[in-house]
Symmetry: C2
Subunit: 381 residues, 2 copies
């Protein structure tokens, strides 16, 4: 690797500067659309062509994430680099970082790629987590079960998302099958906590350390994939405030420049436990596109470009529904005909089972009665 320092940064980036984005999925696409609104060009780097983000960007590179020559050419062609998902190899950012400013940098990426590091990091940032144990042998799994109890969830430490790489253990007899399925990868056993709700909070942090945090939201999953987000979360103000404070603290501890999401479990006594950190715009923040002055994608681009952060206040209440697979796309005609809904589709060619194809945001007047009538909402959206 070159020992050179990155090019002197000229932040804030001037209009028409080019933002390089590693990854071309829907998060890269929506970041590119926000960047365009802010007057920037985007250059998408991804291993495959015709990714959703490429269809709305001025330039693209199709190359492997560890192709040093392609990365060097990419670094030379852009003014700053960001990434749209946390499974970009840390090595990629290590190759790029000496050549061009990278926001966020390798540190945030490394922490969030490994559930063990993530759990330890939560602790160091003052965010409580459920009991957990590292598991590398079947004997360690048995010890961990004895210590943590059941039910519990066995997960791969790396590359899991949307419920992949996980097994729920309800009784001791489940351990052998789970071990057989998930080993020999490094694993983590996490106590299954009796949560009443899943919440998340999104924080943006600028290069100057300024932070803007959106209202905490309440998430409902279906088949382990986010289905609905309610903004704001219908929880006690102290709980919502705690979620936002945790997210801001995590962003500061990671020295993040960009946007991150922290997912929480809410326990019956009001305790919040940190679950996951995503160092990028997050599905549970899509409601901000229609209900806030600056969306999470605008904030991410503002931070990456060195602009001051925008307004994170919510002007409307919102419910976001994911459109997943053929079933989600079957909702399109009804959603398109509904004047209370904004549609966001990702330009993906085929609606495979479990694939996120788009989402819909329904807006409500701030603190309106309709928003609190959950049953009505669920049937309406």
């Amino acid at each position: 690797m070159s020992a050179a320092s990155p090019r002197p940064a000229a932040f804030p980036l001037a209009p028409n500067a080019t933002i390089g984005i590693l990854g071309g999925g829907q998060l890269g696409r929506m970041s590119a659309l926000a960047a365009a609104e802010l007057g920037y060009r985007c250059h998408i780097y991804a291993p495959q062509d015709n990714e959703p983000g490429m269809l709305v960007s001025a330039a693209r590179t199709i190359a492997d994430y560890e192709d040093a020559a392609a990365l060097a050419a990419f670094a030379a062609a852009v003014d700053v680099v960001t990434f749209e998902f946390e499974n970009v190899p840390v090595r990629t950012l290590e190759i790029l970082a000496p050549l061009v400013p990278c926001r966020p940098g390798p540190k945030a990426l490394a922490v969030c790629q490994d559930r063990l590091q993530e759990k330890a990091f939560f602790g160091s940032a003052g965010v409580p987590v459920a009991p957990w144990a590292a598991v590398t042998t079947e004997a360690e799994l048995r010890d961990a079960i004895a210590r943590i109890g059941l039910p519990a969830v066995l997960k791969t430490t790396r590359l899991g998302y949307d419920g992949r790489g996980q097994a729920v253990l309800r009784e001791p007899g489940d351990a052998a099958a789970a071990w057989a399925r998930l080993s020999p990868r490094p694993l983590i056993l996490e106590a299954f906590v009796p949560f009443t709700q899943e919440l998340s909070a999104i924080a943006a942090r600028g290069a100057d350390g300024a932070t803007a945090v959106y209202d905490a939201v309440e998430n409902r999953h279906r088949h382990h994939i986010l289905d609905l987000s309610f903004a704001p979360a219908r929880v006690a103000p102290a709980v919502a405030d705690a979620a936002r404070a945790h997210a801001a603290r995590v962003a500061a501890a990671l020295e993040l420049v960009g946007v991150l999401a922290v997912e929480f479990f809410l326990l019956p006594d009001g305790t919040l436990l940190g679950n996951e950190i995503a160092p990028r715009p997050h599905n549970s923040g899509h409601w901000t596109q229609d209900a806030c002055q600056s969306s999470q994608f605008h904030q991410h681009i503002r931070a990456v470009a060195g602009l001051p952060l925008g307004g994170a206040a919510r002007h409307s209440d919102a419910v976001m529904r994911n459109l997943v697979g053929p079933e989600g796309m079957a909702r399109l005609p009804a959603l398109a005909a509904d004047t209370g809904v904004s549609l966001h589709l990702y330009g993906k060619a085929s609606a495979r089972e479990g694939r996120k194809m788009g989402h819909a945001n329904r807006l409500f007047r701030l603190e309106s009665l309709a928003f609190t009538a959950e049953a009505e909402l669920l049937s309406e959206l």
Copy 2:
């Protein structure tokens, strides 16, 4: 021209269908961004490369507007065609219309390209206009002045915008110089009306004839270029309603599929006079990007794609400020630091004098006091 009918339309367009846009300026760019959110690809057709719209679109054609071969290839590559400005030659749409659905069609374009047709059309649609006369000779100009009186405005009938191709006549002695400057093009003399405000209203009309009209806005110009729009217009409800009704009637009479803006003069007695029709998204509708569920660009794409129209209701009050030339761009640092403002920049390379580089939307709570405090607003934005 081929006698073939356009390809059978498959409306509403399926996700990932391609929308062809004639023109690549900021209106094409913002339409392309809205199309992307709705899951469509865009193909920009324009005579010059590197137009703002091309930087956010999947495909481009660089060719003259009357290049029949290039237009045929364009028609074959897209599912529907629209245009971003009304100075596209009518001939272009006449070449395309037999090959591919064009929305809006040649009729709306032809009416809006010629101030004489436009005035006559306003009359037929039941919208009053200021006294006017066609002028093709200097003698006709003198006759028109005698009939209409002074002050009056002499304008070219075609290709004028942002105050170009106009001369104000205050006294009879001004006629000769104005004639010398503007002839031998066909001209129109329009009475100079003592208006108290300039208003506009934006109407969207779907292929099924459904109409959605945004709140009327109040416009302030500077050097003949739109400077500020206040949404909603601070006028009596009856005036605002009349502006919206006029816009809807004009859209219906033009059999428009898409979005149009109608500009009005408001007289001291509350009368609205129609001034101009723009059969496309309009600068005075940019506030809808941040203050309405569906922006004028989303509505335009929805109409063109055959989707039902979206929600045009305003969730916030708004003030839009244009960023024009170097002076406008000098405001950027302050606007970027203002969390009450959303920025929209167009990706143009150089900020020439008088060039529209971007705009800023400030949001206010619905019917808030701050919005009505105009002086504060003007200094704030």
